[in-house]
Every structure is written in C-alpha cells, then in structure tokens.
C-alpha cells in the first residue's frame, strides 16, 4: 500500500458486525480527516450504506453478506459496499432536503437520500449474479 492510495477491506455477516466495523471506519477516517465533523459524516453515511446492505442482502454460499472497502485516494475517501440480492432503488431518490415533506420518511426510506446529501457522489451498479455495488465518495480536508 502506498500513502496516496490506502485500502481497508472488511466483511460483514450480521448486524452485530456493524458495531465492530464502526470503530474500523472511525479509525480509518481519523487517519486522514482533519475535523471531527468530517469523520462523523463519513461514519454515518458508510454505516447507513452497510446497514442497508446487510438488511436487504441475501446470503450466498462462500460469500459475506456485505463487503466494505474503504479507500483513501488523494483528497477523497471512497467506500465501496457490495452485497447480493434485490436491486437498490438508488437513482430514483433525491438527496435529502429540509424542504421535503418529512412525513414520507415516517416508516423509513431516508437511507439513500441521506447518504446522497452527506456524500459528494453516489454511484450504483448492478453486477452479474445479482450483486449490488454502491460507491460513495467524499472529498476531505486531508490532515497529512
């Protein structure tokens, strides 16, 4: 690994694993981010993406329920979240805005809009074998 592009790969198989990866996400971000707010925002968005991946994912033999890859590349932190199962409805949803009718979120559905508003870019692709790949990126004020 070189300093300009550092990676961390984590596998999740249950909601309990979210608790464990939380610290890994925070530690990874803390290494590069210059403010607590940046770390908080990244933690929230990445955990939200992993949470959704575990919730809606389907267990495939010899595969993790969800795979998270964190990459620091120049001035950005990129999270790649993969799972298998139902396709996401990512592109159809707008970013969260305080001008929206909040009642639409009373039973959920805020995950993707929230991630979109917290991150600089959200890309989704449907791969073969029903694999979903969500790539979320945020530019940071690198402290190094």
């Amino acid at each position: 690994m070189d300093d300009n592009k550092t990676k961390l790969k984590i596998c999740l198989n249950s909601f309990d694993d979210l608790e464990h990866i939380r610290e890994s996400i925070i530690n990874f971000c803390r290494h590069y981010c210059s403010s607590d707010e940046e770390i908080d925002i990244l933690e929230m968005a990445i955990l939200e993406a992993c949470h959704n991946a575990v919730l809606y994912g389907t267990k495939i033999k010899n595969k993790s329920l969800c795979e998270l890859e964190l990459i620091f590349d120049n001035q950005s932190i990129k999270a790649i979240v993969k799972n298998y199962g139902k396709a996401y409805e990512v592109l159809e949803k707008d970013s969260f805005s305080i001008d929206q009718d909040f009642l639409q979120y009373k039973n959920g559905g805020l995950g993707i809009p929230l991630i979109k508003s917290l991150m600089d870019s959200v890309e989704y692709s449907r791969k073969s074998n029903n694999m979903n790949e969500l790539i979320i990126v945020k530019k940071i004020n690198n402290k190094q």
């Binding site: 707010e37 939200e48 949470h51 805020l110 929230l114």
Partner: protein, 112 residues
C-alpha cells in the same frame, strides 16, 4: 431504543436511549408522538443524550414527529444531542428546523 416519558412545566419530555436505528421502536417513535397529539400534548422535548447509535430510520421518525407536532400547532425541540447527531443536523441543515439545546431545561424554556 427506549422511550421514557415525563413532564416538565406542561411540556412532554421524551428521554430516548439506546440505538435509534432500524427497529420497530425507532419507527414507532412517530406513533408515540401521534398518541401524544391525540391527548392534546403538542409541545415535546426529546432528550437525545443517551442515544448510542443514530441511523436514518431514527432520523425519519424524528422528522415525521416534528411535522405532526407542527401540524397541530405544537413544536419539537431536541436536547443534549450528541456531537455526531449535531454534525448530521448541521450538515443536512436540519438544525434550521430542529433546534438543539445543551440541556433539557433550556429546551423546555424555549418551547413553553
């Protein structure tokens, strides 16, 4: 997530604790608030100092609760939100509609 209800100076104080994420209780927060509205209790402070995990389901329930209270001439204030919650409120501009106070007493005074 657990919800503990108390009352201070005519304002309902809901002390929330635990993980405010995807579980029936987090989504049920809005139903809880709607029941308060039916009882004519429309001024609510949510003490979030003991929330250990905050996800989109909890945030959705919080925002829906705010709307239901506002629609009934009431209001919702937040007290003791953790740094992480405050960061999300700031970044998403939720802070413009949902004010956070350092103490429950300050939130109650602001909503009275």
């Amino acid at each position: 997530m657990r919800i503990k209800e108390s009352e201070k100076d005519g304002v309902v104080v809901l002390t929330l604790s635990g993980k405010m994420m995807l579980d029936a209780k987090s989504a049920g927060l809005h139903d809880y608030v709607k029941d308060l509205v039916k009882q004519g209790k429309t001024k609510v402070v949510m003490d979030m100092g003991k929330i250990t995990w905050f996800g989109s389901t909890g945030l959705g329930a919080l925002l829906a609760s705010y709307t239901s209270l506002k629609d009934n001439d009431g209001d919702l204030k937040v007290a003791r939100a953790t740094r992480k919650i405050r960061s999300v409120f700031m970044f998403t501009q939720i802070i413009k509609v949902l004010e956070n106070y350092d103490t429950v007493d300050e939130a109650v005074a602001a909503i009275k």
